[in-house]
Structures are given as structure tokens and as C-alpha cells.
């Protein structure tokens, strides 16, 4: 594969392959033997082409033909049926198109717009309510960062409530991206012995509070392990997930050293009146069963210049959000003048989430 031409990352297996090829049975280094033809097959395939323009042998062709026939019959029966109404047909058509869309990361602006329109229409057909779905891209010269003051946090958990509300998290399983750990003073950062589900008057005597969530690492291990490239780091530093590309293998959940990721074991349920309708494709739009999700620094808010919901909800001012590339931002002042640290610095993940104290 032409390494300069491709859009996605892959493990450099091609070099290993070349060595194997050179020592194949025919003894030649090029042509004449069927194993040498593989290199010619490789060319950039994207979205639709990945499925429909793939070269294949006869057996695979029959396999795919029969599968697509079955799918087609299903779609036909609903879209061309005389008994089904127009809405059902439209829904089937939209679902069909959604099924064959590419990875969001590889989409052109026009394709992004199309999928957003489809999703909005589908939501309208399913729930009879409108949502504002955005596909806003990262702004230039912006790299988001976060600072957390462990001497200011009082453990009120207003941030958790605001986060759940803003990001349409599943109410049944009470999923929450943020955890506030109640830690004993003088005992170090001992997460094993801290309590993240306390219910008593806070701040408790002799304790301090420390919040964890997705740290949006500069070198995110969760992105490296994803087998389908459904998660990646955006130019403004936010690590995002394409919920429609995620296969739910949970490798990323295992790879994250900070417990930043959450899995939807069941279809997320949010009552219609509580749904936050200002959504982003990569942010708080409704998820499906069996996909990963996590904090996105409230991408739907932060890309509009607002603070994430947790920052806005915190009554103590312990949470500071800002642009790391702006030398005049409060965040930069904190990083330059306070004693800051990050969790598990030795792993080399370089989180963009710093802790500091007064």
C-alpha cells in the first residue's frame, strides 16, 4: 500500500510481507508467481469502495452476493411494500444508507452533512421530536486542556449531574463519565482505598476530593488499540468516538489506564423531556447498545467557545478549562505558576488534564 496516500494508520506489516515474498517457492523476486501479484491489488479504497470495489475470488463473491441478496430482499420488502406507509419506507431507505456510510474520520464535509441530515430525519421519524445535530470541525489554533484544583473541590458532585444531563447518558444504568474520589489526607493518591460513591455531608473532615474522567491524552493508548479506527484524536486534542463505526470490542476500555471509557451494555434510555437536543455527531447524540462512549470535553459546547458542563456547574471554581495554545489563558497561567501534576505520568500517555493545589 502506498503509505503516503492512505488516510488511516496501520501496523507496518507490508515490510514483513515483502521479505516473505522474496523467499517464496518460485525463487523469483517479481512476477511469474501468484504471490507477487498481491502488491498490485493495493490501492486506496474508501467508504463504499471498501465493500463494493474490492477484488475477490469466486467463493467470496458468492458469499457476499448471497448476504447482500438477503439484505436487499429485506430492504425491498419494507421500501417497496404496498402495505407499508411512506414513513416506514423512508426510514428503511435512510437506515439502508446509514448502513453503508464510511468512517466519520474519512468523510468529506458533504458526506458529514448528509449523514447528519439522515440522523436528524431518522430521529424525527422515530421520536417525533427535532434535534440540532452539529458536525462542527475543530477550530484552528486551539488545543483544549483542563486543570483541576484538588484543594478547591469540595465533593459536591454538581459536575456529575450536569455531565449526565448534558451528555444524554443512560439513566437506567446511571452511567457517569466523572468520578469524584474521596481521599484521605496524608495517605497519598490511593485510588484503591478512596470512595467514589459517598453520601454524607461534604467536605468530610480529613479528606480531599479528586475528580477523574477522560483525560484526552496526547498519546492515547485507547486509540492505538482500536481495531476499526472508530476512535481518534481530533486536531483540537479531543479524543472522540464514531459511535456508528464502533464494534463494541472494548479493547479501548481495557487499554485506558484512567478508567475514562464507558460501555453501553443496554440501549441508553433518556426520557424525551430530559434529552439535550443540542447535539454533536462526535459528542452527546444518542448512542446505541454495544458501543463505547466517554467524556468529549462537551465537544458540542467547547467548539462553540463555551465551557464544558462540568466547569459551568462547579460552584467552587476548582475546574479550569481553556486553550493551551493561548498564552494569556487562565489555564496557561495555572500550568506556569502552580505546582501541577498528572496521573500515571510514567506511562507516557501525556494527559491534557492537570491537577494542582493552592
Amino acid at each position: 500500500m502506498d503509505s503516503e496516500n492512505k488516510k488511516w494508520f496501520s501496523i507496518p506489516l507490508s515490510k514483513i510481507k515483502e521479505q516473505v515474498k522474496a523467499s517464496c517457492n518460485c525463487g523469483k523476486t517479481s512476477g511469474g508467481c501468484s504471490s507477487h501479484q498481491e502488491a498490485e491489488k493495493d490501492k486506496r479504497k474508501d467508504g463504499f469502495e471498501q465493500i463494493f470495489n474490492a477484488s475477490m475470488d469466486r467463493r467470496n463473491a458468492f458469499k457476499q452476493l448471497s448476504t447482500s441478496l438477503l439484505l436487499g430482499v429485506g430492504a425491498l420488502s419494507s421500501s417497496c411494500s404496498l402495505t407499508a406507509d411512506n414513513e416506514t419506507k423512508e426510514k428503511a431507505q435512510l437506515n439502508w444508507e446509514e448502513q453503508f456510510k464510511g468512517n466519520y474520520k474519512l468523510m468529506t464535509p458533504a458526506e458529514k452533512k448528509e449523514t447528519v441530515e439522515r440522523l436528524v430525519r431518522l430521529h424525527q421519524l422515530e421520536t417525533a421530536s427535532n434535534v440540532q445535530l452539529s458536525s462542527e470541525d475543530a477550530q484552528a489554533d486551539v488545543l483544549f486542556g483542563y486543570a483541576f484544583n484538588i484543594s478547591k473541590c469540595q465533593g459536591y458532585m454538581d459536575c456529575v449531574n450536569a455531565c449526565v444531563k448534558e451528555n444524554n447518558q443512560d439513566r437506567n444504568s446511571q452511567m457517569q463519565y466523572i468520578r469524584i474520589h474521596e481521599m484521605k489526607e496524608g495517605a497519598g493518591f490511593n485510588f484503591n482505598e478512596s470512595d467514589d460513591n459517598y453520601y454524607h455531608e461534604v467536605p468530610a473532615e480529613g479528606h480531599f476530593y479528586m475528580g477523574t474522567q477522560c483525560f484526552h491524552c496526547e498519546n492515547p493508548p485507547c486509540v492505538d488499540v482500536c481495531p476499526v479506527q472508530a476512535t481518534w484524536k481530533e486536531p483540537d486534542g479531543i479524543v472522540v468516538i464514531d459511535y456508528d463505526w464502533c464494534v463494541g470490542c472494548r479493547y479501548c476500555m481495557a487499554a485506558c489506564p484512567y478508567d475514562g471509557r464507558r460501555f453501553n451494555w443496554s440501549t441508553p434510555k433518556v426520557s424525551a423531556s430530559e434529552v439535550n437536543k443540542k447535539q454533536h455527531y462526535l459528542g452527546n447524540r444518542m448512542r446505541k447498545k454495544g458501543v463505547m462512549e466517554k467524556c468529549t470535553f462537551c465537544i458540542q459546547r467547547s467548539r462553540k467557545g463555551m465551557n464544558p458542563a462540568c466547569v459551568e456547574a462547579c460552584p467552587t471554581g476548582a475546574r479550569i478549562f481553556g486553550n493551551l495554545l493561548d498564552p494569556n489563558s487562565a489555564l496557561r497561567w495555572v500550568l506556569e505558576h502552580k505546582k501541577v501534576f498528572r496521573l500515571k505520568e510514567d506511562l507516557g500517555t501525556a494527559p491534557k488534564f492537570w491537577y494542582f493545589m493552592d
Partner: protein, 209 residues
């Protein structure tokens, strides 16, 4: 002679308009103070967040060193400002009269009595102003100049951006809360309260069904 009644009507109209505005203002104030009171009494939220109240406040520029940012103004949020509406005479003149019972709800719980009393911050001669330790007048909108006299490490952090909640968003210009938006100057310590949330599902999952 003909123009006199016209003048009179005009004056009456203006007076009426002023009266109307005044009553509207009062209504707005009482609405805000009611909201503040409700928030303060609710067990879930003992702290008052300006965002949650959605008060339309005007912002004033603060510049210290090379840092410059915006803070909410204070005078428009004070229910009983201007103080001179009652305090027409210097404070000592009030002490012997019935007015001594005013402000009964304010109990100073800030520092030891030997360190401060009302007159450490309030200018007894000019009640519309605060005063520094050396007697220099300070505007109510700039009360942080009073706090910094003792709490200079906090003041330094506030100017830099490490102390004090950010308002509205991360984009410049920076907007921050000022000292008195979170800390009552008469009782600056923040009370304990209950957390806003308890995750029952987590409890069930961890303890086993």
C-alpha cells in the same frame, strides 16, 4: 401663558416615567433576592451560582499588572445600595438613635473581634464607599481591593486565573467571579452540604445482588 400647561404635562409625564422605572427596578430586585433566598435554603445548593440565577449583570474591567479581565459589578446586586439613602449622616450620629437596630441580620463572622469590626471595611464617614486599612476609599464594585489586603495569596491566584470560577466560556476575553460572588464578606467560610448525587446502581453492582 399657553405654554405653561404643556410644560406641566411634560413634567408630570417625566415624573410618571421615572416612578414606573423605579417600581420595575424594585420588582426585579425582590425577584432576584427571592431567588437567592430560595437557593440558599435548598439543601442541594447552598452556594449561589450566578449562571443558575441568570441575572443580567454588567461586567467591569479589572486590570492588575499585565493581566486584564472582566468581573460582575457589585452595586447592582446589592439590595440596599445606595447606602446614603438611609445613611445621610456619619455613623456615630446614628448610634444613639433607634437606627442602631438596622442590619440586625448581619453578624460578622470573618475574623476575630480584635482584628476587625464593621468599620475596618466600611467607611463610617462616607457610607457609599468601603475603605482600605489606611483609610483610602474603595468603590463597592472593586471590593477585591479590600480583600487583597489580607488574602494576598488568594488575590494573586485570582488575578492569574487559578482561584475564582470562570464565567460563560473559555474564549477570551476572560470573565471571572469576584470574591464576593462566592464568599459573603460578613461570613466568608463556606458551609458543608450534601452531595448532589448518589449512584444507587453503582452501589448495587459493587455489593452484589
Amino acid at each position: 401663558m399657553k405654554q405653561q400647561p404643556r410644560h406641566a404635562i411634560l413634567i408630570l409625564l417625566v415624573a410618571l416615567l421615572i416612578c414606573c422605572e423605579k417600581t420595575e427596578d424594585n420588582a426585579a430586585y425582590s425577584k432576584i433576592s427571592k431567588q437567592v433566598w430560595e437557593k440558599r435554603n435548598s439543601p442541594q445548593q447552598s452556594l449561589i451560582s450566578i449562571d443558575s440565577l441568570a441575572i443580567q449583570f454588567s461586567l467591569i474591567q479589572v486590570g492588575e499588572g499585565h493581566k486584564s479581565f472582566l468581573i460582575p459589578d457589585r452595586k447592582s446586586q446589592l439590595n440596599s445600595y445606595a447606602c446614603s439613602e438611609c445613611h445621610r449622616h456619619p455613623l456615630p450620629a446614628f448610634e444613639e438613635t433607634i437606627h442602631k437596630k438596622a442590619h440586625w441580620n448581619i453578624v460578622l463572622q470573618h475574623a476575630k473581634k480584635s482584628t476587625m469590626d464593621c468599620r475596618t471595611c466600611h467607611d463610617s464617614k462616607s457610607m457609599n464607599h468601603l475603605k482600605s486599612l489606611t483609610g483610602v476609599g474603595i468603590d463597592f464594585d472593586r471590593s477585591y481591593q479590600l480583600c487583597r489586603q489580607c488574602h494576598f495569596p488568594q488575590f494573586k491566584d485570582w488575578i492569574g486565573g487559578a482561584h475564582g470560577k470562570q464565567l460563560e466560556g473559555w474564549k477570551p476575553p476572560r470573565r471571572s467571579m469576584t470574591c464576593t460572588n462566592c464568599h459573603s464578606p460578613h461570613k466568608p467560610s463556606i458551609e458543608k452540604r450534601w452531595p448532589a448525587r448518589f449512584n444507587t446502581q453503582k452501589e448495587v453492582e459493587r455489593k452484589g445482588k
